[in-house]
Symmetry: D3
Subunit: 170 residues, 6 copies
């Protein structure tokens, strides 16, 4: 049985991430979405919230589960028995960063393979950080995120406005 | 009448920005320079100061005005009646970021067009952030900024030294 | 009156080129599409054919005309009174080549401005050369070119098969 | 059963290609190496020779077969029942070309998935064309190609020198 | 006598940096490693520690010395009599930033030359920041840093865990 | 004594190449310009002509000599006793090709070092091939090449027009 791991920050999951997960779920017997919960950069959603948003988005895909982790990604892969790490590539990806990470992972754990799926055309230029900028300034992002994420963003930004916090990196 | 909007942080305006604005002012009936005043990253000059520096630099160009804004750039374009957003491209631009933004803008507001001018050769490698690093360390930038910006940078850094602040991102 | 020049090989015009021309025609009083007819690389269509294909594609846009030329692009711009050269940029463009050309043009003819429009999302990864590869191998490109170009490609490749020529660069 | 297709020109197969095929063969039940035999660019080896070189290189891997084809890659994938197309990525890959091709393939045949494997470190900068340049000038490439390819290159270049042909693109 | 300056943050020195220094030391009569000690970004090691780590790593190379500085790099070069600034390039370098800096340095100080050495293959994808991420999460980096740096990282992260500090940028 | 080798096609030498050679000549005791004379692509000038054009251009620099060669570049370096290969980098360079070549050279001949000089600003976007396109179409390139090259180009293109040859790649 082949198990794939799709790791990331996912702050929050977008329709682009969902598309990659849906396609990856067809390639492997089981797909685990791994939400990394020890990032130093300030994020909008907590690890628990990010896991819940993913769970709402993939509820209909039977062979996908969502977990959070705070160790090396290759270690987490070993822990859950995944042979493959999946990453999405967009034309505007940080390719160099992806290469650095994939080759470092290979060095630490030579048996775990990394495979890359290319984002489909409508998601080629969609990133979580741009999305947060747009929604913070009142832009309409209905078509870019799953319905439960849209709702969570609405709640989050209403709360943010009330408390006048400015957590989001522009 | 065609109105162009040239948006940015402009912290501070350089001779490269001024060159783009001068050329864009020839292409459109009216050019509005839009200084975005809600950036999360720490900037050297306030929005008001950045507007004043631009005003001093373009005082001789009759069809240019300077305003600040804190909404979505495409919304600001609509508010001022601009049909076109102008951006400068340098070889060392973040092309991917420009593509993401332009395509997001197109999605939010399909009628507003984005056009790009390429920086002229002497300004191909000039950025506001590198400029601030150099001036902070005492380098001579006389040829890189308008005279009023040079003066403002001198004042700003003298003040900074006195108060021993270290606001500037290296 | 502002006249724009949209120059290229256009072998053949695609829906991506047509989209750029349509948008550029709104920015300028008049747009001239310039088909360069002295290219050293082997092309599928003659300059005359390429001009005719463009004419069929832009017949409905009143302020657009199509001409061929075999001199320096900036010289051709001067000849027709164009102040602006328009180029489309795709994420998979040869940016460096575009920069080299734009800066060379600026050196030869400083008064002529170059402006760049970014390809819309559906055309970001569409190129004439990939298109010719696909159609040559029997792929369906109905949605990627104007109807008259589709027909011309059909005729051209039937002829090519009969004569067993192999003109197309893969 | 998941069948993968690893398509290319492979003129000739290198240790980098072999590494990608070996890793891909672990991900899928069966891997077909597809040698494209209608390329317009002048190649060193015929399609038949390139198939034989691959066969010699993968003889020890039980679930790999080698075939040549001269239709659209996605059509060939359909013909052999492959659900997945595999491509290797090197840091010095033509990423834009890979994106263009993957998105064109997706448009023609939405059900066939493309996955990318990153070349391992020793093969990051190894390309068939650079290899041919080096061997043509007498450089030692023993560590860069499978033994049967090394032998074939030796024979080919001895023949080439005798007949004073100069087929190889520098 | 030609003196070279190899400047950087080096937080901490890796085997990639050490390889560049070793090769540069063969090109020049004397090589000075310059540790910049006024960086705005939060670093793991102090300037003094970074100087000591370098000293331990290059103890065997007779014509290399290590110093820290907090002025413009070209000014520091002048101060120590260096005619040449050396930088390492990796495929995943920020080329644009390197170009901006080199051309700015040339403008400020035209007589000082910048030369670039390309990282050798094993170090092409090794960066100080990725290294710190990996070691912080418990990954084994024995082969990637000099022995004294490995020991210093062990001490540093044990201390960090005890005090539960989270200084490191992910 | 350190000997540097500056290899290339140089068809023809431009002011950008001349600038790199002038700067490299200051770094090494002796600089040999190596004109590669077995290129498969069609060139405008013969190897002998390209050597003569270089000789005219560097006549005033005492420690520079010009030679042609048709073996591996690293072999030629060994033959002439050069320890260092020099290459110019422009922002619009083929970086990936430069990396491939440098790492291949390192593998074949580990003792020979490659160093890179960055083109100065006025030459950042100047390439021999663009130059030939421009001059072929009658553009003025007086400021872009040494005087003897300008004269040779004039002669060459007059001849080409008379014989109606079309050797030049566009």
């Amino acid at each position: 049985m082949t198990i794939g791991l799709y790791p990331g920050s996912f702050d929050p999951v977008t329709n682009g991430h969902l598309d990659v997960a849906t396609r990856a779920a067809r390639l492997f017997d089981r797909l685990v979405i791994g939400v990394f919960d020890r990032p130093a950069k300030h994020l909008l959603f907590s690890a628990e919230e990010r896991v819940e948003l993913w769970k709402g988005a993939v509820a209909q895909i039977p062979n996908v589960t969502v977990e959070h982790y705070n160790i090396l990604t290759v270690e987490f892969a070993r822990t859950i028995g995944a042979q493959v790490i999946v990453r999405g590539l967009r034309m505007s990806s940080d390719f160099e960063g992806e290469f650095e990470m994939a080759l470092m992972n290979k060095q630490i754990s030579p048996k775990i393979e990394s495979v890359f799926l290319m984002a489909n055309l409508p998601f080629q230029f969609l990133s979580s950080s741009l999305l947060k900028e747009v929604v913070q300034l009142g832009g309409d992002i209905t078509s870019l995120v799953p319905p439960n994420v849209l709702k969570a963003l609405g709640t989050k930004f209403k709360v943010l406005q009330v408390t006048e916090q400015n957590l989001i990196r522009r």
